[in-house]
Amino acid sequence: MSDFWFEFVEITQTVGDGLLFGATYALIGIGFTLIFGAMGKLNMTYAGASLAGAYAGLAAFTFVNAPALVVFLVSALASGFIGFVVYVACFRFIPVNNHLAALMASIGALFFIDEIVIHATDGSPLTFPAMFEYVMFDLGPYGIRGDLLFVFVVCVVSTAGLVYVLYRSRLGLATRAVSQQDVAARLCGIDVHRTNAITFVLAGLLGGIAGSMTAAAVGVLSPLVTIPLTVKGLIVTVIGGLGSIPGAIVAGLLVGGLENVFLYFRGVNERDMYVLLLLFVFLVFRPHGISGTAIDRD
């Protein structure tokens, strides 16, 4: 009985940690979904740019010993800036209906960013500083890691901020107008390029936060993380339903929680395989994702 109880606590604790950490996946998923919603295109660079933002934050810490808040701010701004550059380099001048070319260009940009990071760091993982003291909140048999809780809260706040911008400001109105009816929005005098660029910057800001949060929670930053994070972000986006922000949030938490379950039962090497299988389960049984909105744009 006590063995069972112990295991139960252990598993629920794991799931809880995963849910908190899943908030970062949700942010990455939101970023992908935001750009997809605006342009109907995948920005493959996104997760890479987010991690590059985290590297910029790390640089701020290493070279000028910036405080935690500034580190996160630098990460967000750097990633937002990269988002703008990526928009100009890979989307702005490529014909709107040529999805293939934009996709390829953004993959090219992903390699480019990744290689720069590898060069700057000699390809070796760097430790990301613990930004806050080790705190543990006790909750009966459970403990909540302070850093994970902080990550979760920051993600919730930034998501709320994004939703506010999208649904309560004129800028957000323009973004949504462009995503729904590109041509009509143009005719209403909305500058589509500017709106798209702003969407990329917004997504980039979120990504930078997610990237530095991931790094802070894991404690290590490595170029090897880029592709797995890209794939996970894409999975979250698809499971959530392309273009759906609430879907991405739920999917992010789902993936984060389940990931730790897989980790608990099957170990770290096999964990990601099961996350990938989860995507196929969704593709077979619920191809339009949690939100179920049928976006068949290609």
Partner: protein, 300 residues
């Protein structure tokens, strides 16, 4: 000399990889999962020659068939999504395969040592060619027999009704259905054919490289697979071959002097190419010009 033969082998193998994506792209499907089928072919054929000690030819065919079988299986769920969703689904598949081989450990004793896939340490003992005394020239010829065979088959198919059906599906799915084309059958068939071709490529790769590990089969390789037909255009199989020669022969070799910086330049080149020539370096007008130049104009 051996070095250049190695390059010629690599060009042949990458042509197969590119053609596997080409077949799919004819039907309008973009797959970033070709590296996964390539890996399945490579590991299966390697296991067959090393652990089961089969000759290379049956091992290669078996590897290609296994890859085709998985492509067939992936074809069905992947059919329910299209466009960018398919891209995501195939990336996920290919990462799954990579992680599977990352975890696969299957060692059997062979004399004093043990052989077989050794998870993180890779699969090191695929020495069929060396053990049987094949010369580099013979290996190269062996690789290119398959390249030429596959190219000839695809060239042939492109002139048949089947080829026109593939392209019709790629052009307009609704119109294709309305003239009686079974989308499911055509797409799954294209996926399976693509898996088979990638499987041959993978099997050849494993045996020419003698060493494979999971890091060979990343999204980077899958990107190369689609980059070839995108750059070479879809008007003919030769476009893919030209693109492979251009990228592997000219760019990768030519930029070798850049050392570590090569990959950075490579990323920039992709971005530049897509901005300047979004429909491929050898798009229809360019292809026509090239054809006229070499006297290949006119259709079958």
């Amino acid at each position: 000399m051996a070095y250049y033969l190695g390059l010629v082998q690599l060009i042949g193998i990458h042509t197969l990889l590119g053609l596997s994506a080409y077949v799919l792209m004819l039907t309008g499907q973009l797959s970033l999962g070709q590296a996964g089928f390539f890996a399945i072919g490579a590991y299966s054929a390697g296991i067959l020659t090393v652990i089961f000690e089969l000759p290379v030819l049956p091992a290669l065919l078996a590897g290609a068939l296994i890859a085709a079988f998985f492509a067939f299986l992936v074809g069905f769920p992947a059919l329910r999504v299209k466009g960018l969703m398919l891209v995501v689904a195939t990336i996920a598949f290919s990462e799954f395969v990579r992680l599977f081989f990352f975890n696969l450990s299957w060692r059997v004793p062979r004399g004093d040592i043990s052989v077989g896939p050794d998870s993180t340490n890779g699969f090191r003992e695929i020495r069929y060619f060396v053990a049987n005394g094949w010369s580099a020239f013979e290996i190269t010829a062996f690789v290119w027999i398959f390249v030429i065979l596959v190219m000839a088959l695809l060239w042939w198919a492109d002139r048949s009704r089947a080829g026109a059906v593939l392209r019709a599906v790629g052009e307009d799915e609704l119109a294709a259905q309305s003239v009686g084309i079974n989308l499911t059958a055509v797409k799954v068939a294209a996926m399976t054919a693509g898996g088979f071709i990638a499987g041959i490529g993978g099997a050849l790769y494993a045996h020419t490289a003698t060493y494979i590990d999971h890091l060979t089969f990343t999204v980077l390789l899958a990107t190369f697979a689609i980059a070839y037909p995108i750059l070479g255009g879809l008007s003919s199989v030769f476009g893919t071959l030209v693109a492979v020669i251009f990228i592997q022969g000219v760019l990768v070799e030519g930029l070798r002097f850049l050392g570590d910086w090569r990959n950075i330049v490579f990323g920039l080149l992709i971005i530049a190419a897509m901005n300047l020539k979004p429909s491929g370096l050898f798009d229809a007008p360019t292809a026509r010009m090239l054809k006229r130049a070499v006297g290949l104009d006119g259709r079958g």
